[in-house]
């Protein structure tokens, strides 16, 4: 009897031990939403039902240092809706000036950047070569180029500069594609819509192109499109150097003759030849990878390079795109966010081509139920290996009525992938609590160091909820180095520059880019986690003109400003 009791007790203890072992640990602190206490009280205007496709796609966000004080400011786009379309003041995009210490001030009205209409995306760059960062806002109807007047105010010069565009623009990014020393501008465009003849919700006119009805989703009436609606071509504007840009899309071979539904864009040098190439994500259609031919023209190599579609040849609903060196190989990989029941594609750069390693890297499965948008590579724990973050949210509020299929509901969680340093990632969002697991309808996401403490923070623009300012409060992170490049001439941000940092066994590469994530703009400064290394043995900058700057034995834990000679 005694033995039996002892055995029972042991069994019970075992059970208790098991229960203890399985109880979920309290979430660790990584990112804390400090938006309200920081003074960022932005909420995107939203129509409740999203009866029209234009009401589901906005939400760009930019990190920029518009006043040159070394602190990254925030600009969030806001868009009109069909109901408010006749009131241009109804939607207010907001510029927040960074006062330091995670305090921000709404300077929109003074700056004059509050009402760019149906604003969608945003990118930054010095369009007029005066050394100050300008803001370009894409939207429906026309785009805005806010020239920085260097006194805290901006002036829209889009019309006179020739970049007001037309139709429905989404992504944008500056790059000096012909290396003439001036920043050019690419703009992706999405769907052709006529505000006076909108397709009827749930019924619409969405027939054509062999695609069939587009206004139902699993038997539920939803907004029409994009399928069944005509697409729009993309624009490349060449900087003529006289304050004006010339539209050269067709001549340059990036005019999108198929009129695919363009969204995210990424300027980056995929093959390391020193010339900016261009990646464009297209919703439900093949993505483009335009290889720079070094003569002012491009050639679409998306298919042979293996980045146009998914591994099994399916066209995915591609939204955002991140560029990063997650393998520390010195080659830029692409991470593309996609629609629900598709997977976020991680394309590893193998030099001359890419390999879709989405499943092998273990990034794909968690993304399958989600519609994902803003995304970035970021080293959130400063261990020297780039991790990944992506935000989600469906386009149809009616998703909550849909009972079948693998899709999640309308509001969706974020994903955070920790780099395992072996080509794979572990999805760790649940370890870090409600900031990640709360269900939201997010769009733009950007990363940058808002308080210059060496830890990468995150800002998210939500379509149906307040914007988030996510402060990185992870304790015990490694050493770091932030590299701020000052280019010369008409490219003061040094877009197209490549920075490599070597520290101990780490060799990390970053690309300075305009137009990132989903229709957004990351902090242009380059962040490097150094792990246990208290200094970088080498910081090497390859400038856009292919000259290089080498700095040796750079102490860690600082913002390093490097000026182009």
């Amino acid at each position: 009897m005694k033995a039996r009791l002892a055995a029972l007790g042991a069994a019970l203890l075992g059970a208790v031990g098991l229960a203890l072992a399985q109880s979920p640990a309290a979430p660790s602190l990584l990112l804390r939403d400090v938006a309200r206490e920081a003074g960022v009280v932005f909420q995107h205007q939203a129509s409740p039902e999203k009866r029209y496709i234009m009401e589901s796609m906005s939400g760009g966000v930019a990190l920029l240092d518009y006043d040159g004080d070394g602190l990254v400011d925030i600009y969030l786009t806001n868009s009109l809706t069909v109901d408010t379309r006749n009131d241009p003041k109804a939607a207010r995009s907001v510029l927040y000036r960074n006062l330091g210490g995670f305090r921000f001030e709404d300077v929109t009205d003074k700056a004059g950047v509050g009402h760019p209409g149906w604003a969608m995306g945003v990118c930054t760059g010095d369009a007029d070569g005066d050394g100050a960062t300008d803001i370009y806002v894409t939207g429906l109807g026309r785009n805005y180029l806010y020239r920085n007047n260097r006194n805290g105010t901006f002036t829209d010069i889009a019309e006179q500069a020739g970049v007001a565009s037309s139709g429905w623009s989404m992504g944008c990014g500056f790059a000096d594609y012909d290396r003439d020393g001036r920043l050019d501008l690419f703009v992706s465009r999405y769907v052709s819509v006529d505000l006076d003849h909108l397709p009827e919700f749930g019924k619409g006119t969405g027939k054509g192109e062999g695609r069939g009805a587009t206004c139902q989703y699993r038997g539920v009436a939803v907004q029409c499109g994009p399928r069944g609606l005509p697409g729009e071509s993309d624009f490349l504007f060449h900087n003529e150097g006289n304050g004006r840009f010339a539209e050269v899309s067709e001549k340059a071979g990036v005019g999108d003759p198929h009129q695919y539904y363009g969204l995210g864009i990424a300027w980056f040098d995929y093959n390391g030849d020193g010339w900016p190439d261009l990646y464009v994500t297209n919703d439900s259609q093949p993505n483009y990878l335009y290889e720079n031919q070094k003569d002012g023209t491009f050639k679409d190599v998306g298919f042979p390079a293996g980045v146009a579609v998914s591994e099994d040849g399916s066209e995915q609903g591609s939204m955002g795109v991140a560029v990063g060196d997650y393998t520390n190989s010195g080659r830029p990989a692409l991470f593309v966010t996609n629609f629900a029941e598709e997977y976020n594609a991680l394309y590893r750069n193998d030099g001359t081509h890419f390999t879709d390693v989405s499943f092998r890297s273990k990034t794909a499965p968690a993304s399958l139920p989600l519609v994902m948008w803003g995304t970035a590579f970021l080293d959130y724990d400063n261990d020297g290996w780039e991790d990944l973050i992506a935000v989600a949210g469906h386009v149809y509020p009616q998703m909550d009525q849909v009972k079948t299929g693998a899709s999640a509901g309308y509001r969706e969680p974020k994903l955070l992938y920790h780099n395992n340093r072996d080509g794979t990632f572990t999805e760790v969002s649940k370890q870090y609590g409600p900031v990640f697991t709360d269900l939201r309808v997010s769009r733009g996401l950007v990363v940058g160091d808002l308080d210059n403490d060496g830890k990468v923070d995150v800002v998210v623009n939500d379509l149906d909820g307040p914007a988030q300012v996510l402060r990185n409060e992870l304790p015990d992170t490694g050493h770091w180095l932030t590299v701020a490049l000052h280019g010369k001439g008409g490219n003061p941000d040094a877009f197209g520059a490549v920075t490599t940092v070597k520290a101990g066994s780490l060799s990390m590469t970053r690309w300075v880019r305009s137009g990132t994530s989903y229709i957004s703009q990351d902090d242009v400064r380059q962040h490097f986690g150094l792990g246990a290394q208290a200094q970088a043995e080498l910081v090497e900058v390859r400038w856009p003109d292919q000259t290089t700057t080498r700095l040796e034995n750079v102490p860690a834990d600082r913002v390093l400003v490097v000026k182009q000679p």
Partner: protein
């Protein structure tokens, strides 16, 4: 014996009554078979048979042959009965039951054309759902897809809510890889009979056949829930989940299918595909090789092997395997897409472009097929974006 004889008689009456009501003017007077039926009912089968044989010998009367055939059937002398029925059928249409028995005998003897002829005659005369279904089965066996579906369409017109007819219609459609007609009946059938696993399974298969794999998952899961551990369902689930790249979910179904049927090549090949998707290259290679060793032109097995070779950067071997996959499943865009990549990596732009064009054509065909399905059935996989 008594019961059988009574049944014989009952069956005989209407057949006899018809010619008596409207005798053809020039025809000889028919023999009085009623007396012979009475004789049978009294139990004098032998005497009745003697009389019938006399009548047949003298006039070849088809009604007498039919009655003799019934007598033979009743006495388990089927071969003799069939001989008489064949001769009777030459003279005119047989009653429904005898026509069916003759048709079945002809099928058993391999005389499929004669059987079809008989069934068509009976079907024409009696508008019988049962006969139409038999005819459809025979036509299916003869690979006459359109004929089978036409027969079952007639059966559906006669019995639009008959579960048996709808089931047969769906089965014939699916066996002939004609999923569109199947979908039209399976969706309501699965709704009308929600606890029948088979209907959910067939609905899933039909949706797979038209390429709407997303929509096929739910009915297959339901079939598995209603009737677990059925290898076909498990394999189908594995296949559709693989197609949706849900490799981690597909793998347990396929492993279970292999527990139940260790040599099932479909399960082995699909498992290789799951493993390849999950990055388990060694296991994927082993299973893919095992599948193609069993069936050298296996589409999925070769595709999985091709993908493994792509990852190993053994592009020449990848091309060979993917080429076999393309031949085995020419409608799929997957193999031509990967072939376009493989050739690009081998530096042959012309070949790469060739396969890219094939891929694009396949994508267009799938889009068109899906739209047709959705337009006709209203079933939507939900992917309108």
């Amino acid at each position: 014996m008594r019961t059988g004889a009574t049944a014989l008689a009952l069956l005989l009456v209407p057949a006899l009554a018809a010619p008596q009501a409207t005798p053809p003017p020039a025809a000889p007077r028919p023999p009085d078979l009623g007396a012979i039926v009475a004789q049978i009912e009294k139990g004098d089968a032998a005497g009745a048979e003697r009389q019938l044989r006399r009548i047949i010998a003298s006039s070849g009367d088809p009604a007498a042959r039919q009655l003799l055939a019934r007598l033979c059937f009743d006495q388990k002398r089927d071969a003799e009965a069939i001989v008489e029925l064949r001769k009777a059928a030459l003279a005119g249409p047989l009653p429904r039951d005898l026509g069916l028995r003759l048709a079945r005998a002809e099928i058993a003897d391999g005389h499929l054309a004669l059987a079809e002829q008989q069934l068509r005659a009976v079907a024409r005369r009696y508008q019988s759902v049962q006969v139409l279904m038999e005819l459809a089965r025979l036509q299916t066996r003869q690979k006459d897809a359109e004929g089978a579906l036409a027969s079952l369409e007639k059966a559906r017109a006669l019995a639009p809510n008959s579960e048996d007819v709808l089931n047969a219609y769906a089965q014939v459609s699916l066996s002939l890889r004609a999923p569109m007609p199947a979908l039209q009946v399976l969706e309501p059938l699965a709704r009308m009979c929600p606890t029948v696993a088979q209907y959910h399974y067939m609905l899933g298969v039909a949706l797979m056949q038209v390429g709407d794999v997303r929509a096929s998952t739910a009915p297959l899961r339901e079939a598995d829930r209603l009737e677990p551990d059925r290898p076909f369902t498990l394999i189908a689930l594995g296949l559709v989940l693989n197609t949706q790249r849900m490799y981690g979910e597909a793998k347990p179904y396929l492993l279970r299918a292999l527990d139940l049927e260790p040599d099932n090549v479909e399960a082995v090949a699909a498992l290789a595909e799951s493993e390849q998707g999950l990055g388990e290259l060694e296991a994927a290679e082993t299973h893919a090789l095992r599948a193609v060793a069993r069936v050298s032109d296996h589409a999925i097995g070769n595709f999985a092997l091709g993908m493994v070779r792509m990852q190993q950067e053994r592009y020449e071997e990848a091309c060979a395997a993917l080429e076999r996959a393309l031949v085995a499943d020419p409608a799929s865009p997957k193999a031509p897409y990967q072939l376009s990549l493989a050739w690009a990596r081998r530096g042959d732009e012309a070949q790469s472009k060739k396969y890219l064009e094939i891929y694009r054509q396949r994508v267009r065909e799938i889009d068109m097929r899906l739209e047709q399905v959705r337009a006709k059935t209203g079933i939507s996989g939900g992917m309108q974006r």
